[in-house]
């Protein structure tokens, strides 16, 4: 099964970053697909938490919204949303949070609020939701996002959620003690933060992608690591599981 889409490549790569010991705060869309793929392949003991209050959920189909019944029915436990944000997220119990963005800068700061001016937006986006505190309370953050010049920008229009701020020690200056965005997984490559300055550096390139593709899809000056890996391709097994998951999901959502 050598055929796979860039989105599948991205999803499988994100899934592989997770392990059995992880407690993940899962968002809707790609993060949900990646986390459940991990659960259905190499990390059956992974704990998936959705902000609707479901702890240790094992959905058979992906939820369309963050609080679908499937999540609760398959969860170990469902708690009030107040408790989810207070005891579990703020309480520091989550090892990994997944975030995406409309705009992202090279320090992993993200914008999901507005394009343009806050008071006179060109495009009004949904807003932060759980992200501002997910970004600071989870042990580390995996950013997952398709690359484009429009999305990967030098300066984001609004800092919805903190990454490394202005870089270096800036993140800690806000009283934040968690690690921050430790990897950025795109449809083209994997980037990781520079050990000191914290800007993202390309450390692994997906098969069939070249450096110019990445540069052309990035609004900041791309830096490449001295040694760059090639991201392993999705296995047949992973692709099969992922496609089955999506097929079940589509069938279920159409039926509803």
């Amino acid at each position: 099964m050598t055929n796979y889409t860039p989105t599948e490549m991205m999803t499988v790569t994100a899934a592989r970053a997770l392990g059995n010991q992880d407690v993940c705060f899962v968002g809707i869309g790609m993060p949900s697909a990646a986390c459940n793929l991990a659960r259905l392949t190499h990390a059956p003991e992974i704990t998936l938490i959705y902000e609707s209050g479901t702890i240790g959920t094992k959905p058979d189909v992906l939820p369309l919204s963050i609080g679908d019944g499937e999540l609760c029915e398959t969860a170990m436990n469902t708690v009030p949303v107040t408790e989810m944000f207070r005891y579990w997220l703020q309480g520091g119990k989550i090892t990994v949070g997944f975030l995406g963005a409309a705009q992202l800068d090279k320090y992993g700061n993200i914008n999901t609020t507005v394009i343009g001016d806050y008071d006179n937006p060109k495009v009004r986006l949904p807003g932060g939701g759980g992200a501002p505190e997910i970004a600071t309370s989870c042990g580390e953050i995996f950013l997952v996002m398709k690359q484009s010049k429009r999305g990967f920008v030098e300066k984001i229009d609004f800092v919805t959620s903190l990454g490394y701020g202005k870089g270096g020690d800036d993140r800690a200056s806000y009283g934040v003690t968690t690690k921050g965005p430790s990897r950025l997984i795109t449809d083209l490559c994997i980037m990781e933060p520079h050990s000191v300055d914290k800007h993202f550096i390309v450390t692994s390139i997906h098969p069939g992608v070249n450096r110019d593709d990445i540069i052309a899809a990035t609004g900041w000056q791309v830096e490449f690591a001295d040694e760059i890996a090639q991201t392993p391709v999705p296995s047949d097994h992973e692709l099969q599981i992922l496609r089955d998951l999506h097929a079940r999901t589509n069938a279920a959502h159409e039926g509803q």
């Binding site: 609707s52 949303v81 009283g175």
Partner: protein, 288 residues
């Protein structure tokens, strides 16, 4: 002071006044859509609408011109895309200009908690390095008097009326929530008045667990029996989420005229009894 059973029309007419601060909650689950329609039908105006996720229910209220202000933390149609009526109000001021007070989920959840707890504000570890505090004067920072750590503070949410949907009431008016319970209990306890629509009214709650999520009748103003009243949201144990409707809403709401037609047809010329019917159609389709 004990919960009164009444019709949805009476409950909304009695509890909701123009200009009120209203919270309608339900986190994906148990969203009180029937009550939202009744508020539109009664032409309530100048409402401040509070809700963590102002999805389709508030897209309808905003598009229908009921809202003066929105307090929220995530405004989208989950898994589908934008709320077109919300965006039209924010980007173009249609049908009227909409003020917003924007928070994060953590802030809203803590603010409901503080409201239920009788506190004037919620204190939490939030908004660190985030830009919302620049544009929202209702986000401040205080210092822990023991450690000096900076903590975010937001005002408690204390709605005039909270509207939620639940699975069951018993005949005394105690209410039971099961499954994803969101912030509903907090929102009711934080409010001056409450309207709770329920799927079912039972004689008593036999054999429910000791630690169920419940509200006693003396903490509720009004209870309304509206089977299917959460549709297109869902009621665990009763019916599933109508995901197809949420997807269809994207097209309905994209255009002002098709939105108005939909509201005329399904809200202005409809009633709470339609929800049971809609549910039957949805269930029939799901089984087909």
């Amino acid at each position: 002071m004990v919960a009164q059973f009444m019709s949805l029309k009476n409950a909304v007419a009695t509890c909701v006044q123009d200009g009120d601060v209203i919270a309608m909650e339900g986190f994906t689950h148990l969203i009180p859509h029937a009550a939202g329609h009744e508020i539109i039908r009664q032409g309530k105006r100048d409402l401040t609408l509070i809700r963590m996720t102002p999805d389709v229910i508030y897209d309808q209220l905003i598009g229908a011109g009921c809202a003066k202000k929105l307090v929220f933390s995530w405004g989208g149609n989950p898994g589908v895309g934008s709320l077109h009526r919300l965006r039209d109000a924010l980007e173009n001021g249609w049908p009227r200009k909409l003020e917003i007070e924007e928070h994060s989920h953590a802030a809203m959840a803590n603010a409901y908690d503080a409201g239920a707890a009788g506190l004037p504000c919620a204190v939490f570890k939030g908004y660190r390095g985030a830009e919302l505090p620049r544009v929202n004067p209702n986000i401040k920072f205080i210092k822990c008097p023991f450690t000096g750590e900076s903590l975010a503070a937001v005002p408690a949410i204390r709605p005039d009326v909270t509207v939620v949907h639940a699975q069951k009431a018993n005949k005394k008016g105690d209410v039971l929530f099961e499954g994803i319970v969101g912030v509903q209990k907090e929102a009711v306890l934080a409010a001056k008045k409450s309207i709770i629509t329920v799927e079912e009214i039972v004689d008593d709650f036999a054999d429910i667990p000791f630690n169920a999520v419940m509200l006693p009748n003396w903490a509720i103003s009004t209870i309304v029996h509206v089977p299917g009243g959460a549709h297109p949201s869902y009621a665990q144990g009763y019916y599933k989420r109508d995901n197809a409707f949420y997807k269809a809403w994207d097209n309905i709401a994209r255009d002002r005229d098709s939105f108005k037609d939909w509201i005329d047809q399904h809200v202005m010329n409809g009633g709470p009894e339609d929800f049971a019917t809609r549910l039957k159609m949805h269930n029939a389709k799901a089984e087909a």
